[in-house]
């Protein structure tokens, strides 16, 4: 009996080992860019052009309203208005990338991982019913509210911090554990914030460009911020979600949820210069956001690398 069980477990182990080996070979082949079939045909989530155009109309209307408001405000500029930037204030076109070789390797790895694993899974996930996906998305966004509240306080924006707390309480209770965003329907909308914004508000420079495995383009400041955000979530460990047995499953679900809601596709440009282009766009978007942050709320801590008085 014992021998039979051992033999059975041996067969199971062999089967598992073979399956693992096959999966590893398939994964390695795909990650190496080897084609397993020719042609390969992959079903993508259905396109929704009518709804996309309706959303574009709404965005255009909102943009027009914002521009009209801006024009009205600029007609009555207050005396303490922020001094506009001039072209002379623009930072260098060239991004600070001392870890370029490593970053390029990680970018390449991310592209292959995306193609082989992340996107196929995200595309499958995207075919789930929309209310289910929205529920998952709301659930994870709600989990970020405590971290957001803490960071609003660190940014000395207590009102926004209180709104985050309010959103968390409302969505966790009335929104059934965060599955429904009831708070927004109750006019309690509030954008999420995190440590990277806090560090920016404190005057920290974005630092070198950084490509993070699986997560993609970032800067040192954003990377540290993301790590700190995770640290807070892990420390609070709501409902034991971050340390319990199910933490891996939930982490994977969140990763897939985030990938499915991001349209970026590695090398869709087909260009060998994509790394440089993405770096330029990422870094300069961040610099523009920094300029905006500092105009609205002057930094309290200066970048130690900047000369005093600048």
């Amino acid at each position: 009996m014992r021998a039979a069980r051992l033999a059975g477990s041996g067969a199971t182990a062999t089967l598992a080992a073979t399956a693992t080996l096959a999966a590893t070979v398939a994964l390695a082949a795909t990650l190496c860019g080897c084609a397993l079939e020719n042609p390969s045909i992959r079903r993508l989530p259905d396109q929704t052009p009518a709804a996309d155009n309706a959303a574009a109309i709404q965005r255009a209307d909102e943009r027009a309203a914002a521009q009209a408001k801006q024009a009205a405000q600029s007609a009555n500029v207050p005396a303490d208005a922020v001094t506009p930037l001039t072209p002379a204030d623009a930072p260098s076109m060239y991004s600070y990338d001392p870890w370029a070789r490593l970053n390029r390797s990680i970018y390449r790895f991310n592209a292959r991982f995306d193609e082989a694993i992340f996107l196929p899974v995200a595309d499958t996930y995207d075919r789930l019913p929309s209310p289910l996906r929205h529920g998952v998305r709301n659930f994870f966004l709600n989990l970020s509210e405590p971290d957001s509240a803490l960071n609003y306080l660190l940014q000395w924006r207590p009102v926004s911090g209180l709104r985050s707390v309010g959103r968390f309480v409302v969505n966790t209770t009335l929104g059934i554990g965060g599955l429904f965003d009831v708070a927004t329907h109750l006019q309690l909308a509030n954008p999420l914030t995190g440590f990277s914004v806090t560090l920016a508000r404190w005057g920290m420079h974005p630092g070198p460009y950084l490509v993070i495995p699986l997560l993609g383009p970032s800067t040192l400041r954003d990377g540290v911020g993301q790590l700190a955000d995770y640290g807070v979530a892990y420390g609070i460990n709501l409902a034991d979600l971050y340390r319990g047995d199910q933490s891996w499953a939930l982490g994977t679900l969140n990763a897939v949820n985030q990938r499915a809601s991001n349209d970026f596709r590695y090398y869709s440009s087909g260009s060998p210069f994509e790394y440089e282009t993405i770096r330029f766009l990422y870094v300069h978007r961040e610099l523009i956001e920094d300029a905006a942050l500092h105009a609205k709320s002057p930094p309290r801590v200066r970048d130690p690398r900047q000369p005093a008085g600048e």
């Binding site: 009518a50 978007r285 956001e289 300029a291």
Partner: protein
């Protein structure tokens, strides 16, 4: 080149069976200089969402990656472009197939292609969208030369790729007829592919519709290079000046209290909202084209071994920085690609070719007889399209006659997807379109 006439004869060669809204035909080219203000703005902004034609709620989409047997060895830096990537939207019943080819330097799943795909799928077509032969992914995976920009050679490669793709479509897809269309350079490619298919006989392509096509590829590119020179300048300093100006302006917009954070994919879209003068719009258009040219130039230099920016003995390896090459290429106009990469390659590989013949071979005149005599070729363009001169527009009018729709306004592709353009395009594909007298 057929001598263009200022007042073309507009003879109907197709039977009007539809009541499509008449389209006003303008006989002149761009109103002022290379293009007028409205044309420049339309080219940058595209069709306003409110003017977009009705689109279906859902469109299925499949991504097809195919390795082509004639592909050349893949250079290390292009490791991600080994297989040609195209997109297919199948109907679940027998239907005609519309093949759509992208514009200069663009892939097979652009926003413009998305619009055309949706409109065509909604009208009952299977839709196959392909990158331009000047897209790096096509140059690497499907070009037989690696040196893009030759209208006939690129279209031959396209035709061969289309045949391979169709041969590998799932058996469940039942195709009743095949039409082809394309926008910008893709429009010219589409027409030439149809003519190649007619000669070859292996694939029957019924109708072709060109949307905002060039008449002379090189003349159109010269016009855009001219735009670059007059709006940005000839050196790298001009690009840096433009960058600094747009950066400051964009940052100032986001420094106002009403603005929110910029989304991941919105930087370029946001940048277009701070353009003000005609010169800045010209710069945006010229820069967009120059970015496409950088890829074509780099790939061509690499494949042809001409050594302009890539050392043929030591080509860049995976992971090498391409910073210096980008910097070197962005201030180089198409004229330099032509003289230092394209012409040396084709003069060496095409017996009897001369610089003049290479230029002449890149005009739609090469299929002028078919365009004039075959009622299954159609085109749509704008009287203010900045890639066309007045004589070129007149040539299109005299060659295609009533099978050409000329809209008053839209610049280059600035009315793609609008109700009238889509309605006319569908009528053309159905063989019903005719300009009301």
């Amino acid at each position: 080149m057929t001598a263009p006439t200022a007042t073309p004869t507009l003879t109907s060669t197709s039977t009007p069976t539809s009541t499509s809204t008449p389209v006003t035909v303008a006989a002149t080219g761009p109103a002022t200089g290379l293009a007028d203000s409205a044309a420049l703005r339309a080219t940058v902004y595209g069709t306003p969402p409110r003017d977009i034609a009705p689109l279906p709620a859902r469109v299925p989409l499949e991504q097809i990656d195919i390795a082509l047997p004639w592909a050349r060895p893949v250079p290390a830096v292009f490791w991600f472009d080994r297989r040609l990537r195209v997109w297919f939207s199948p109907q679940d019943k027998p239907a005609p197939l519309a093949i759509v080819i992208s514009g200069t330097g663009s892939g097979g799943n652009t926003a413009d292609l998305g619009l055309l795909r949706a409109a065509l799928y909604g009208a009952g077509y299977h839709v196959l969208t392909l990158p331009s032969p000047t897209f790096p992914g096509f140059i690497v995976a499907a070009s037989s030369t690696g040196v893009a920009g030759d209208l006939l050679q690129d279209s031959r490669d396209l035709y061969a790729a289309i045949r391979q793709i169709l041969a590998h479509l799932p058996h469940r897809v039942r195709i009743t007829d095949i039409d082809i269309l394309g926008y910008s350079l893709g429009g010219a490619n589409a027409a030439v592919v149809k003519s190649i298919a007619a000669t070859d006989g292996a694939l029957r392509i019924h109708r072709a519709v060109m949307i905002n096509p060039p008449v002379s590829l090189f003349a159109s590119i010269d016009r855009i290079d001219q735009l670059f020179a007059q709006s940005i300048g000839s050196g790298d300093e001009g690009i840096e000046r433009l960058y600094a100006k747009l950066y400051a302006r964009l940052a100032n917009v986001y420094r106002t209290p009403e603005q929110i954070a910029i989304g991941d994919s919105e930087v370029l879209a946001a940048a277009t909202t701070v353009l003000r003068t005609d010169q800045e719009f010209e710069a945006a258009i010229a820069l967009n084209f120059r970015i496409a040219l950088i890829n074509v130039f780099f790939a061509g230099d690499l494949y042809a071994g001409t050594g302009v920016v890539v050392d043929p003995q030591h080509p860049p390896r995976v992971g090498d920085s391409l910073e210096e090459i980008t910097r070197a290429l962005r201030s180089r106009p198409f004229a330099e690609y032509f003289s230092r990469v394209f012409a040396p390659y084709y003069l060496a590989h095409r017996p009897g070719a001369t610089l003049q013949s290479l230029r002449a071979d890149n005009r739609l005149d090469i299929i002028g007889a078919q365009l004039a005599g075959n009622p299954d070729y159609y085109a749509q363009t704008n009287s203010d399209d900045l890639i066309l001169s007045a004589p070129e527009l007149a040539w299109l009018q005299s060659t295609l006659g009533s099978r050409l729709a000329v809209y008053h306004h839209g610049g280059h592709l600035g009315n793609l997807g609008d109700r009238q353009q889509i309605a006319d395009m569908l009528e053309m594909l159905a063989g019903h379109w005719d300009r009301a007298p």
